[in-house]
């Protein structure tokens, strides 16, 4: 295997650890929703850099285009008009992969190396290894991965791993005109967020805070929210995301237990045969039948 430009922390469907000796800086994108104007520069820059083009859709009565994430739209803006404390607010959230520390997609993926987590925190899909089963969709707490209708491969934000590998900021962060998307080490991003939160507190947003949910071990895409106590205001951002217990069961305990149970059944049968011997037709019965024939 070639040496990676980015060190790999874990790999889907791989039971042994990857080389772990090298320590690299953990990176993050900080999306300061309070500075976001929903201009979609990030959306366009993402499609441009990654050479993907969503279909030209239609207006469905809101500003949200592309209307949803897709294999060709790895990020999209979600607009919510809410009234808080008698004041209208237009909350605009950039939706896309959160690059969880504990990624549900990777946990669910059955194809070795189709999903990798780099040591810097990026969770990346490798389409050449992807088998298109959609388990990553099932595993994701944020409803991010999409299976292509044309090639049945899973796609999502790569965090521009190709840019990161040459020490360039992701396309979205670079483009962002208002600096609502910041890119840097996760530690720096948290410090930056603290400053933004202090500023928001001063401007009357008492509940401003950082969205870096524990349930998935923290994320490498974090939000500064004016109303951190109500993430769901932001187009249904999960209050307390985590890998679903069903998924944990399926890809956690169930995996070894069921495998062991099957092994035991097989072994049990073998030993039963060895210990008890075959269940053969008895000599008496054979004789009885022979006698019946004679009779």
């Amino acid at each position: 295997m070639a040496l990676q430009s980015l060190d790999i922390k874990q790999r889907s469907a791989t039971t042994t650890p990857t080389p772990q000796a090298r320590q690299t800086v953990e990176i993050a994108k900080l999306i300061d929703v309070s500075s976001c104007i929903g201009c979609k520069a990030c959306t366009v820059a993402c499609m441009e850099w990654n050479d993907i083009r969503e279909e030209v859709g239609t207006c469905s009565g809101v500003y949200d285009n592309p209307v949803n994430l897709s294999e060709n739209a790895w990020t999209t803006m979600r607009f919510s008009e809410v009234e808080q404390n008698g004041k209208l607010e237009w909350l605009i959230r950039k939706d896309g992969c959160m690059h969880c520390s504990d990624p549900g997609c990777l946990k669910s993926c059955p194809a070795p190396g189709a999903i990798v987590q780099y040591a810097n925190g990026i969770v990346d899909f490798h389409q050449e290894n992807c088998i298109g089963c959609g388990y990553c969709v099932t595993g994701c707490p944020f409803n991010v991965p999409r299976i292509s209708k044309t090639d049945s491969k899973a796609y999502k934000c790569t965090f521009c791993s190709d840019r990161i590998a040459v020490n360039q900021a992701p396309a979205c962060a670079k483009a962002c005109p208002t600096g609502a998307i910041q890119f840097g080490s996760k530690a720096d991003m948290k410090d930056y967020a603290a400053k933004r939160i202090a500023d928001l507190n001063e401007r009357g947003f008492d509940k401003a805070g950082l969205y870096d949910p524990e349930g998935v071990g923290g994320t490498h895409v974090m939000y500064v929210l004016h109303h951190a106590d109500k993430p769901s205001l932001y187009a249904g951002l999960p209050e307390n995301p985590g890998i679903s217990p069903l998924v944990s069961l399926w890809k956690g305990a169930a995996k070894p237990l069921a495998t062991a149970a099957l092994g035991l059944v097989a072994l049990g049968s073998l030993f039963h045969y060895v210990m008890k011997g075959p269940n053969e037709v008895s000599k008496e019965t054979e004789k009885e039948v022979e006698e019946e024939d004679k009779a």
Binding site: M1, Q4, S5, I8, V44, A45, E48, S161, K174
Partner: protein, 195 residues
């Protein structure tokens, strides 16, 4: 009975055998995970300015080839120029999408004419286009050029052909246009400054 059992095993043999071999490591290694190669390596970088609003963001235009004689440059990517003091590398959704403007399917590629009353375009050469347009211009100018107004003041104007100038043209192009148009006596002249 023994034969039967053997036959049963035979059914499974292929499957089990195959999988055992695979489990012993004969399967292709599927776990390679290299990031996409950085696509701008060795692309030609050109500094430019966004043609949309008058924030005039600095651009880096990346094109294929190294400007050698036999390679035709194709623009493959456009992003913000981090040195530009105004945009510092950032771009808006319009600027970030510039590549699709440059490569729009609706770019014009050759001169065309739509004849009076016709329902379609006809491709023509530049020579024909310039010949025909200048003939129109001269005929109109010669017929309608006003040397003096009714009070006998010399006015030297040509009011019957107008020109709407692009606000996206370079200063140099704008200057040349105004220089030529005024020399022709044209007074019906406006730009998209206001709308």
């Amino acid at each position: 009975m023994n034969v039967t059992r053997r036959q049963f095993f035979r059914v499974c043999a292929a499957g089990l055998g195959g999988s055992s071999i695979a489990m012993m490591g004969f399967s292709p290694t599927a776990a390679l995970a290299e990031v996409r190669t950085f696509k701008l390596a060795r692309a030609t970088e050109t500094r430019n300015t966004c043609p949309y609003c008058s924030v005039s963001c600095g651009l880096l235009i990346y094109s294929t080839g190294d400007k050698s004689k036999n390679s035709q440059a194709e623009i493959i990517h456009i992003e913000g120029d981090p040195d530009n003091p105004v945009n510092r590398g950032s771009l808006c959704p319009k600027g970030a999408g510039l590549r699709d403007m440059v490569q729009s399917p609706n770019r014009l590629k050759w001169p065309e004419v739509r004849e009076a009353g016709s329902t379609e375009w006809k491709k023509i050469s530049w020579n024909e286009a310039i010949d025909r347009i200048t003939k129109h211009m001269k005929a109109d100018r010669d017929a309608n050029f006003m040397t003096q107004n009714k009070d006998g003041v010399t006015v030297n104007r040509w009011p019957t052909t107008g020109f709407l100038a692009s606000s996206a043209a370079c200063n140099e192009a704008g200057y040349l246009s105004v220089k030529v148009l005024r020399s022709l006596g044209m007074t019906t002249l406006d730009t998209q400054a206001r709308i």
